[in-house]
Amino acid sequence: MDVETFCLRACIEAETVRRWIEVGLVRAELTEADLARAALIRDLVEDFGVNLEGVEVALDLLDQLHEARAALRRVLGVVAAADPELKARVLAALREPG
């Protein structure tokens, strides 16, 4: 989408979006995913008082978390499609503490 629509929907200034694109927090394509990401960055900055350095650290960790969740979802998908006994053992292992 164009910068104007993006800013309107995310409730942020065009100048701010340009800076976020520059430092690589949001991609220049400005898709729906970038919009959701910008809304999160806005909340971190405006509501939680996190500075841009802190936002970069938080988003990098969050991206790793999403990546790990996506990978785990796929692994569990393979497990679920495989053997019922293996599935039961994986479920039991996930319930074990630590």
């Binding site: 898709t31 729906e32 809304a39 999160l40 509501d47 988003l59 969050l62 991206d63 969740r69 692994v75």
Partner: protein, 301 residues
């Protein structure tokens, strides 16, 4: 009526602006949906807490609320959309400019799959993405091209195969989400919806439509121009044709993969001139054959 915003944030009615901000930050950090991607229940609580904060952090709104001028509803800024709800959320580490690094999961997969995994690198294929594309009727019948924007923002030109049916799924290899490690990217699955046409109807590889003809053309026969998806043709109307007469135009229908085409079936509709014609009326009053013919003979009911 929304709950009392002071109770939602857990602060006294005499709390200072700083105390309100601190209470909000403490709660919001544990409730923000994007900071709790796995907790579906956090979203409703987060919205309630942020609505309370939006009201109490604005001195004017807070005063009017305290004086009973406004209630706690409808004072909040919209929140979201939330990044965790995007299917692309797990792919951003590859897409950022200069922030890309190898997967943070490498060591885990190495533990799980041993040294061979460590040597070759763990790989998982990327997920497929699903899209829908509306195709003009004639592009589906004759084949054509369409431009499509993928969720990644990339635009691709796709070929609509000749004879495409409604609901056909095109697979664009490698246009889905990226894989993990050396894993190949997923595919984009594009479902094609064929738009209706004002004249043509489609039955498999047949095209049907109604062609209006004058009473003169129907009775005496004529050569008329008739449209088909493969371009207009001259159609011979045999003498004595009727409304409902079906004429077949071979090889003028839906294109097939082998280059041939189905047929086009034209149903004639005899249409009288829009204004009553004195000469025609005079003739019909005198016309004996017309009086003797009963078109309803043998009709049941």
């Amino acid at each position: 009526m929304a709950r009392d915003p002071y109770a939602v944030l857990g602060v006294a009615r005499t709390a200072t602006a700083d105390e309100i901000k601190a209470a909000y930050r403490k709660l919001a950090k544990t409730l923000h949906p994007d900071l709790n991607p796995g907790d579906r229940s956090a979203e409703a609580r987060f919205k309630e807490v942020s609505a309370a904060y939006d009201l109490l952090s604005d001195p004017d709104k807070r005063r009017r609320y305290d004086e009973g001028e406004i209630d706690a509803e409808g004072q909040e800024r919209p929140r979201g959309p939330f990044f965790r709800d995007r299917p692309e959320a797990g792919t951003f580490r590859w897409r950022g400019t200069g922030r890309s690094r190898p997967s943070g999961l490498q060591d885990l997969f190495d533990d799980l799959f041993g040294a061979s995994a460590a040597e070759t690198g763990f790989a998982l294929p990327g997920e497929d993405v699903r899209l829908r594309l509306t195709v003009p009727f004639l592009d589906a019948v004759n084949g054509g091209k369409a431009r499509l924007t993928l969720p990644s923002g990339e635009t691709v030109d796709v070929t609509i195969p000749a004879g495409t049916e409604d609901g056909t799924i095109l697979r664009l290899r490698g246009k889905g989400l990226p894989g993990i490690g050396e894993g190949p990217p997923g595919d984009a699955l594009v479902e094609l919806a064929v738009a209706p046409h004002p004249l043509y109807r489609r039955e498999g590889d047949l095209i049907r439509y109604d062609l209006p003809v004058s009473i003169t053309e129907a009775v005496l026969g004529a050569k008329v121009q008739a449209p088909t998806p493969a371009g207009p043709v001259v159609l011979a109307i045999p003498p004595g044709s009727n409304s409902g007469t079906v004429l077949r135009l071979r090889g003028r229908g839906v294109a097939r993969a082998d280059g041939s085409r189905g047929d086009c079936l034209v149903t004639l509709q005899v249409v009288l001139p829009p204004k009553p014609d004195r000469e025609l009326e005079d003739f019909l009053r005198r016309w004996e054959g017309g009086r003797r013919f009963d078109p309803r003979a043998g009709i049941g009911g």
